[in-house]
Symmetry: C2
Subunit: 132 residues, 2 copies
Amino acid sequence: MHDDKPKDLSAAEWKVMKIVWELKKAVAREIYAIAGERHDWTAGTVKTLLKRLCDKGYLRTTKVGNGFVYRPARSAISVLRAAADTLLGNAVPEASGPLLAHMVEKSALSEEDLDVLQKLIDAKKKASGGKT
Amino acid sequence: MHDDKPKDLSAAEWKVMKIVWELKKAVAREIYAIAGERHDWTAGTVKTLLKRLCDKGYLRTTKVGNGFVYRPARSAISVLRAAADTLLGNAVPEASGPLLAHMVEKSALSEEDLDVLQKLIDAKKKASGGKT
DNA sequence: AACAGTGGTTGACAACTGTAGTCGATCCAG
DNA sequence: CTGGATCGACTACAGTTGTCAACCACTGTT
């Protein structure tokens, strides 16, 4: 296609994306409602953001009746990963550890998530442990 | 002064901050040099960014001779934490686990960092393990 | 004291963002 | 089919960001 360089999301766009990721698919009205509640945005504002997100390739639409059904064109996790990479790229290396620690603390993680992380960390320890 | 609401850093500003965080303190010339190498920015560009960072309260300056010595007004880790919180806030909850996993994989972590994380995760597991 | 360098301040300008209203097409109820 | 409700496209507009050049003040040198 042509999303070679996926343009980054702006703050407001993230918020709209979050709504759509949560709903998985949604029509305008639903999005306006949640966005209105959550951020006090008028429909006009959300319209613009939806449009921009379509243009940027983050949303796919299918015509239905009067309007569209919106659904994510990219998974939340993949977009988040990219954002995380940027964040890590901005981090001075000594800060990565504390940064990760902070995030782990702040996150609500399931047992499974914790297991996965635990294993990952174990593996990393073994891998690096081999140094003199 | 006026850092009630620390304005967010823009992408370019992060890059300059990173340089200053790395150097801990630096004069213009040093920053121009690294920024030039790293991002192909002209001195003019960096000047503007430095100015904006001062205005936003991210850099403190002390007059020395002709110009300033720049140094971070906020620690890298605290700024990163804030950015991380934003990121987590943008994440749909199911994604936090995978997100963290991705970041742990991608980061270069010291043994100590790994220890800290391990303990954190253990603690979390125990805390949540008591259910059923 | 005059000058060349270095560096901060300003001004510029296009692109992107945040916010939102208007308008014409479309759909549903009557 | 007619009228009201929706919805997406388009327009608007101020503020932020990315990029820089021009200008001016201060420094250190000769």
